[in-house]
Symmetry: C2
Subunit: 473 residues, 2 copies
């Protein structure tokens, strides 16, 4: 049992310790209750000094601490060690400064991503990171996971926009790396090492984020292709010939799109043909609707040349929202359809290898006799291949089969020059698969850094690496 007296000295009565209260902090959106591990306590710091004290206490007592943002992660990085402490950033949610001169914002990690973007909109500004869970995810979690999402093809991932941070180290020191500057080569790039380290190398307590002028207009095209091959050819053609990079190129396989569509409220549904094998949602942004319309028209011509048809197209907010709703509902449909018996993957391959990856899903479907939803960020080769239990399959058979399927999938993406996670992270889910993507020496160099910065392995142990790997010497 952990020593609650020390924690109370830091946080007063402001913490959760009852079983009924802590259970919702024992999972994230990984969707499989097998990963559940309930903490002994959940604390809600309001300032950096409390987090520094927390980590000093953790080192003294050897208690594991797991940072937690919005809990929307998909690989279990916010799932604590059973009986450990969860450090929730819920109450550190101030937007400290919107600096319109430098085009930078300073925020606490608990700000919900969409809340920040709405504030920025009032200033004509734009946070270009766009995780699909922007309604619930915290900006601190985006940064800790280096969230990717739907606009990375044009704007890059979240890490691209992180200029500086205040960070509490695993041993409880308050550190500042980077800042309000566009260039910085003053020592090692600790900032980008800790960004994306899934809460294992430091706790962000303040972030300096670069923002950009909001594009004057956006527009979408929802294109339907009779064959998957035509859709992947179209993506390649679009990358070659378009004078502007689309802000999104999202793929949904036909069956998944139709199943998702009928699961939605009637007013939200698209009219989808039963013959379509692949849908692409293409979005452009630009200075004004005329410019965006020209890009959409050219992109639509290219759809026709590749054998598809532009089903929906326009720069009106309602048209765009309807198209995006279909795309965004896919993972929720998967959950409703398959319950915990699904595995939402985020493998990534070189853009030119997308056709091979999509075809490989067919091979997996027929080998393992399970449906696989294929959707995701076609523009940057990052796909959510999602195997789901077939209705006739038993849960036991599913559980027995899925490690083999994932192992074959991971092996294939690495063979294609890709890797096992493009945006969700290793978390707890892929700890034992990391060796598919990285050699022993490569993992050893990472573990050496973990040990150097967190010698007692108290900050988010069991995430990325197993506890025994880190502690073995």
């Amino acid at each position: 049992m952990i020593d609650l007296t020390g924690l109370k000295e830091i946080f007063g009565g402001e913490m959760l310790v009852e079983a009924k209260d802590v259970t919702r902090y024992g999972v994230d959106q990984i969707g499989d209750d097998h990963y559940r591990q309930n903490p002994a306590a959940v604390v809600f710091p309001t300032e950096t000094s409390q987090i520094a004290q927390l980590m000093k206490w953790a080192n003294r007592t050897g208690t594991p601490v797991t940072p937690r943002g919005g809990g929307s992660g998909l690989a279990g990085a916010a799932i604590p060690v059973a009986g450990g402490v969860v450090c929730s950033f819920k109450k550190m949610n101030r937007i400290i400064e919107i600096d319109t001169e430098n085009l930078m914002v300073t925020v606490e990690p608990g700000v919900v991503t969409n809340t920040l973007d709405k504030e920025l909109m009032a200033h004509g500004l734009f946070f270009a990171g766009y995780p699909m869970s922007e309604d619930i995810c915290y900006i601190g979690g985006n940064v800790a996971e280096n969230a990717g999402g739907g606009r990375a093809i044009k704007y890059g991932t979240t890490a691209t926009y992180v200029l500086g941070a205040e960070i509490v180290s695993p041993t409880g020191e308050v550190l500042h790396f980077g800042g309000k500057r566009l260039k910085d080569v003053t020592g090692y790039n600790m900032l980008q090492l800790i960004v994306g380290s899934e809460g294992t190398l430091g706790l962000f307590t303040q972030l300096v984020i670069r923002v950009i002028p909001r594009p004057g207009a956006r527009g979408v095209l929802l294109a339907a292709f009779p064959e998957i091959r035509q859709a992947t050819q179209y993506v390649a053609a679009l990358r070659r010939v378009s004078s502007e990079v689309p802000s999104s190129i999202e793929f949904i396989d036909g069956e998944t799109a139709r199943s998702t569509n009928v699961s939605m409220r009637e007013g939200d549904r698209q009219t989808l043909s039963p013959e379509t094998q692949a849908y692409l949602l293409v979005e452009f942004d630009g200075p004004d609707t005329d410019a965006v319309d020209r890009l959409l028209q050219a992109a639509a011509v290219l759809v026709g040349e590749n054998g598809g048809a532009a089903d929906t197209m326009g720069t009106q907010e309602s048209t765009m929202e309807a198209a995006w709703k279909l795309r965004k509902q896919v993972p929720w449909w998967v959950k409703r359809n398959a319950g915990s018996c699904h595995s939402l993957e985020d493998v990534v391959v070189p853009p030119a290898a997308v056709p091979e990856l999509v075809m490989f899903a067919d091979h997996l479907r027929s080998s393992y006799k399970v449906p696989i939803a294929v959707f995701g960020h076609a523009g940057d080769g990052n796909f959510h291949l999602t195997p789901m239990k077939a209705p006739e399959m038993s849960q036991e058979a599913w559980e027995h089969m899925i490690p083999d399927l994932l192992s074959e999938l991971y092996g294939e993406v690495v063979r294609l020059g890709g890797t096992i996670s493009g945006e969700h992270g290793i978390g707890r889910k892929r700890v034992s698969s990391l060796s598919v993507a990285l050699s022993d020496a490569e993992r050893a160099s990472m573990i050496a850094i973990k040990r150097a910065l967190d010698p007692r392995n108290v900050l988010n142990p069991g995430v990325i690496f197993s506890e025994s790997e880190v502690m073995a010497e």
Copy 2:
């Protein structure tokens, strides 16, 4: 004395060991012979396995190894330990693949940056990194230093384009991080940690670089402002109102521009007014000359509104080259003018603090009675403030004075929210100044990483941190 037998086993006779041959490897472009330290041997590997063997030998024998690219660094990061080994990448200079489908290139580190860009031009592609020394610097050096340069305001620094690398670790392991993929969150971001680590955490042996379609047209505007204040106001206005980010906004103070101009061949000179206090070179790129012309015209109107005059303007190659020649000749004029008695700095501040920084140069000029050339990347707040010995000052007085001046300058940029190096690095030059920008705890976290990856401190010791800091436990 080092054990040459071991080296000969790896490299055969292909190395330099005579004093007359190794001296040119005892300096870089830091421009001050006080930093000279001649190596005992210089080796020229042609393949990765030799470098792995070299590092294993270095660990066995405790011999320091310093990697070297084009030798164009400005902070001494390529200056070896006296009596150590220099590992030159001169012979590892193959462009392995230009992958036009994925828009990525795979290169060895010894490729000269301009050579790569010329090859890319033939494919309509573009390496967006643009260090001012692109004629001589190696791509490996750019990556190791995270070179910035004149296009970072639009395109970011070199690090932005590094997707993957083969790296020999300080202990001689061959590691691969990243690859031909646009997203990757598989474990720690070792790649971006080692990028910019100035050759202290690993030796790059192969690089995967993202390239982009080459803009169809470029155009420049050389604007003259009677007062410095007007130029800095113009930069702020341009950032606010321009619909497109300029690809460069370069500043040269009036006196430095005129002195540089008269030092150039007559045919290369611009017509510069004696009344001008500040010049700005603004470059745009875009899909075609019409689009670029429109941007230039709008930018020129804004020059007038801020009290300046557009001296030169156009999208012709010759006009652009002439304007850039003036800017690029500045550091060479400084060298000819002041010999080793100058200090080429690269401090960086938040863009909105540029006026304060430029004004601070006036304070330093009058306090220390030395001329200071002010030039550099106004768009991203990164300035080459360069104090030079006054003609009437003795070399002794200069040497006595310069540490105080730099200390005051570094203190001021940190106070303004900036840092002491935006693109040249810490190297050997700023080792003792690093504590101005970073706390003890921040430096300790970096040193912990250095020790974890290079426990015998054999890879480029004395760069970024002193040897005693790293070895003390």
